[in-house]
């Protein structure tokens, strides 16, 4: 039986952004880091120095996979089905949080 994808939640922002960056398709490390900075509007800042330790853990846990690139210096990464399920679970959790915030009038409805 597959482990419950909700068990590692909540994810740290960096981990979630790595999953988001890979949701569009396979990327290499540098592109992931840039994607994170753009997608977060600069609020999550990350360089390769911190990116690879996070990605190694994700690789070990089987959330992402590794493939060879044409450029021998780099490798590309992609989401595994398990990684995708976890990203979905985290997104659902965040949506639920947003719903809750609305019901408490912390956010304008339908914004």
């Amino acid at each position: 039986m597959a482990p419950d994808p909700r068990s590692p939640l909540p994810l740290s922002p960096r981990v979630f952004y790595v999953l988001l960056a890979l949701a569009d398709g396979e990327q290499h490390g540098y592109a992931i880091a840039r994607a994170i900075e753009t997608k977060s509007g600069g609020t999550v800042r990350i360089t390769s120095g911190t990116l690879y330790p996070i990605m190694r853990q994700m690789l070990d846990d089987g959330w992402i996979g590794e493939v060879d690139d044409e450029d021998p210096r780099r490798r590309s990464y992609s989401l595994t089905p398990r990684g995708r399920r976890i990203a979905q679970a985290e997104a659902a959790r965040l949506a639920e949080v947003v719903r809750l915030a609305r019901s408490c009038k912390l956010l304008p409805a339908g914004a």
Partner: protein, 868 residues
């Protein structure tokens, strides 16, 4: 740039580095291509690498640690044995290091410490009289004529009796000249120290110790200016010394704690150049070299020799740094030796733990091979093993430092008199740093054997679980460790045996007096101020003798000194009819006694007569000499009837001729002392500054005799404190203190080493037997007998033993050589000791091997073969 990356990436654990380095550098280069010149980005990148690298490492260590703790919790017995072993080894090490640190490595406790020197003045012709000391006039000249010394002072040990504060109290005093405290560089806690004017005041001046100030004067801040009575003389307190100030004792045991420092006038009329009453301590001017001081002092001494040929004609001065003078010659050698011994124990300890852990590693081959198969790198597993030994070493270290703390307290209590500066030993920062280093070493040594074993075993055989080849190399390492243990244990137990034999010989040596039933008082001093004349002292001595005579069944006497006493006086003498070259007149020990002295000590009268009560202050001067006195005469001369003359102030009629009326057997002042010619005089014909009681009471209750002797002194002079009372057994043991000390130490270390070696042998043989079950089963099945199997196992023990003993004998010979100067009446290469020690070691080793051998002999072939 690449080099910079390479360097910073070292923060990452290695496996991470090899996997991601190229990608990290590649990403940076890509960024440079996209956004040229981004220096801020480089900085961010590097700091990210550093921080996350260290984070990864800490996480890894934390993981290793939790695995190690979990594993160790599964084998509490192993943990217990290893921790205790580590604790003993580390505890012994830390104790000895803290002593070494205090005695040899720390500076002296004076602000001027590095610049302090002593000046010893010696006369080669009269070496026994006032060794190393200077007269006050010489000191004055030396101080005023030298140019390289900032300050020079004289001091000497003394005693005073304080009255007016309850019972009379004996105070330990230091007589000093006024520059004493300036020379050391210490400042008073209260009041002031002396000035030159102080020494010329009519009323004597004194500085009291912090301890005396607190105990006798309740820390009263108005104590300065107060007048107290010392030896019956009104004396003014001018200051209080800082707490813990000790007086250096460069010619004795390092330091002593004085209660008071009494000021002595530098040029009173009573000082004369021949009375060498002071030791000299000086401080070098800043920036002046030691060689310059030596030349300067020698120049002044040369002037004095020319100027005062009658006093200083033969004297020469020796300048020594105070530190060297205090630490002395024998203590450092002894301490370094002990330190080596402790390192030996430490080596055994590491060997034992390594051996135990090896056994464990072998038992874990399954687990480890699984982990290798699952892709764990070898370096990871080695890390893991080292973490385990590290955890054990840290636990052992904590218990060890606790042991050291207790041991040090006991040790300083026992041996403070023996080793200069020992009293200052404590567990401080340098000792803690040393302890940390030792713990790390222990973890590495003990942990690296299993780790190395693992690294040297091919992976295949690791994976092929419980492989025989791994075990074989393992056993070789273990055997080597056991050989080392036997060798070190042999050397240590030999050192202990030699010291014990020396101690026995020293305490049972014949010094010419009877050993049993004799009671000896310490020195009772007649303060000059209260007893200015011989007659005033005679009253006290009469009272004393009458009371002592009342002790039932006792033979009692008074004497200036006795063998092993510390109050002897040596004098040179003239012998009628025998001519000696000037400057080469014979010396003799001089001892005024009452008639019963020889009976009390059992010293046989060889010729002539003993003293009687008729030998009084008014009768003809007579003397009795020891047999060795004959060496001053031509062979065959009869000593009785010859006359001699002494140059002593203690005589009632100085420089009168005395007739020898008797000859007694010689005595010696201790086991290691040579016989010295001795001259006994009737007590009433002399006038002495002090006296001892010597009482022979073979059948009386010892406690009662001691009480009675003390009471006799208190009764004779209620204003003086009664001296302590000793027996010869106590004095003998006391004189052999340093040997007793090393004997106790080596015995303790030797026993620890022996215990560790036995444990090691037991462990190795048990392990070997457990691994060879199948082999024994087959042997039994094809007709071998249990006895043959036992013999086979024990043969292994004998091989280890022979190798260990061979190396051990060499080490023992070296150890014996090293403690040679400490030994008495035993050769450093003593065959009897070596044989005995080897026999003990062999017996225990065989016993340790016999238990597992017995188990091997009981192997049931059917069962073991079924397991295979």
């Amino acid at each position: 740039m690449r080099a910079l990356f390479h360097f910073v990436c070292l923060a990452y654990p290695r496996d991470f580095r090899t996997r991601y380095f190229r990608q990290i550098v590649g990403d940076y280069e890509q960024h440079q291509a996209d956004v040229p010149g981004g220096f801020a980005y480089l900085l961010r990148m590097l700091s990210d690498v550093l921080v996350s690298g260290l984070q990864l490492r800490f996480e890894m260590m934390g993981r290793d640690l939790s695995i190690a703790l979990r594993r160790l919790r599964q084998s509490p017995l192993l943990v217990f044995i290893v921790v205790i072993t580590f604790a003993l080894g580390i505890g012994a090490n830390v104790t000895v290091f803290s002593v070494l640190n205090a005695v040899l490595l720390q500076p002296l406790p004076y602000p001027n410490a590095p610049r302090l020197i002593t000046i010893r003045v010696i006369n080669p012709h009269w070496p026994e009289i006032y060794p190393d000391s200077m007269s006050l006039p010489d000191l004055w000249d030396m101080r005023t004529r030298t140019t390289t010394l900032q300050s020079l002072a004289g001091f000497n040990e003394g005693s005073r009796t304080l009255t007016g504060y309850g019972k009379p109290v004996a105070l330990h005093a230091t007589d000093i000249t006024w520059r004493f405290f300036d020379t050391l560089g210490v400042k008073p806690e209260l009041g002031r120290f002396a000035t030159q004017q102080d020494t010329e005041r009519a009323k004597p001046q004194v500085v009291i110790s912090d301890a005396l100030w607190r105990s006798r004067f309740n820390g009263d801040t108005n104590v300065v200016g107060k007048t107290i009575t010392l030896n019956g003389v009104a004396t003014q307190i001018i200051g209080v010394a800082p707490p813990g100030l000790q007086t250096p004792d460069p010619f004795g045991a390092g330091f002593y704690r004085a209660d008071i420092w009494t000021l002595v006038s530098e040029h009173a009329a009573s000082n004369f150049r021949g009375w060498r009453s002071m030791f000299a301590i000086g401080v070098i001017r800043p920036g002046v070299s030691f060689q310059a001081v030596r030349a300067d002092v020698n120049r002044v001494q040369e002037q004095l020799r020319v100027q005062y040929p009658g006093y200083d004609g033969h004297n020469s001065a020796i300048v020594t740094p105070l530190r060297d003078a205090i630490v002395g010659n024998s203590a450092p050698a002894l301490l370094w030796m002990i330190f080596c011994a402790v390192l030996g124990v430490f080596a055994i300890m590491c060997a034992n733990v390594a051996s135990l852990l090896l056994t464990q590693t072998n038992a874990r081959t399954h687990e480890l091979s699984m982990r290798v198969a699952l892709g764990a790198s070898r370096s990871r597993i080695m890390h893991q093993l080292l973490t385990e030994s590290g955890v054990l070493a840290v636990f052992g270290g904590i218990v060890g430092v606790a042991i050291a703390f207790i041991a040090l307290r006991e040790f300083t209590a026992v041996a403070s008199d023996e080793i200069p500066r020992l009293a200052a030993a404590r567990i401080d920062l340098p000792v803690m740093l040393y302890s940390t280093a030792i713990v790390i070493l222990a973890a590495l040594f003990a942990g690296s054997a299993p780790a190395w074993m693992l690294a040297s075993t091919p992976s295949l055989s690791l994976i092929r679980s419980a492989s025989r080849s791994g075990i074989a190399s393992n056993r070789r390492v273990q055997s080597a460790l056991v050989v080392l243990e036997i060798a070190v244990a042999l050397a240590l137990v030999t050192a202990s045996g030699l010291s014990l034999r020396s101690f026995y010989a020293l305490t049972h040596a014949d010094i010419g007096v009877r050993a049993q039933g004799v009671y000896l008082s310490g020195v009772f001093t007649f303060p000059r101020e209260r007893f200015p004349t011989a007659d005033s002292k005679a009253v006290i001595m009469d009272r004393l003798q009458r009371r002592l005579a009342g002790i039932p069944g006792a033979t009692s006497s008074l004497a200036l000194n006795y063998p092993l006493g510390d109050a002897s006086i040596t004098s040179n003498l003239d012998i009628a009819g025998v001519r000696h070259a000037p400057g080469n007149t014979p010396d003799a020990v001089f001892n005024p006694i009452t008639p019963a002295y020889f009976q009390a000590l059992g010293i046989p009268l060889l010729r002539g007569r003993g003293f009687t009560n008729d030998d009084s202050s008014s009768s003809a001067p007579v003397a009795i000499v020891g047999a060795s006195f004959a060496k001053f005469f031509p062979k065959g001369t009869s000593l009785v009837g010859r006359r001699l003359r002494m140059n002593l102030l203690n005589l009632r009629r100085p420089r009168t001729w005395m007739t020898i009326v008797g000859v007694v057997a010689d005595t010696r002042n201790g086991a290691t002392a040579n016989v010295q010619p001795e001259v006994y005089l009737p007590l009433p014909q002399t006038s002495n500054g002090w006296i001892n009681a010597v009482v022979y009471a073979p059948h009386a209750d010892p406690a009662a005799v001691r009480r009675e002797i003390s009471a006799a002194f208190e009764n004779a002079d209620p204003l003086s404190p009664a001296p302590a009372v000793h027996t010869y057994a106590e004095l003998m043991a006391d004189s052999a203190r340093s040997v007793r000390f090393s004997a106790a130490l080596f015995t303790a270390l030797g026993l620890i080493a022996l215990a560790l070696a036995i444990a090691g042998i037991f462990g190795v043989v048990s392990y070997a037997v457990s691994q060879r079950q199948a082999e024994f089963g087959i042997r039994m099945a094809i007709g071998s007998t249990p006895v043959a199997i036992m013999r086979n196992v024990l043969a292994g023990v004998v091989t280890l033993l022979c190798a260990g003993v061979a190396i051990g004998l060499v080490l023992a010979a070296l150890a014996g050589r090293a403690i040679g100067t400490q030994l008495y009446d035993v050769q450093s290469l003593d065959v009897a000791t070596l044989t005995a020690v080897t026999a003990i070691l062999a017996a225990t080793a065989l016993l340790a091997g016999a238990l597992p051998a017995l188990r091997a002999a009981r192997v049931d072939p059917a069962r073991t073969l079924r397991y295979e």
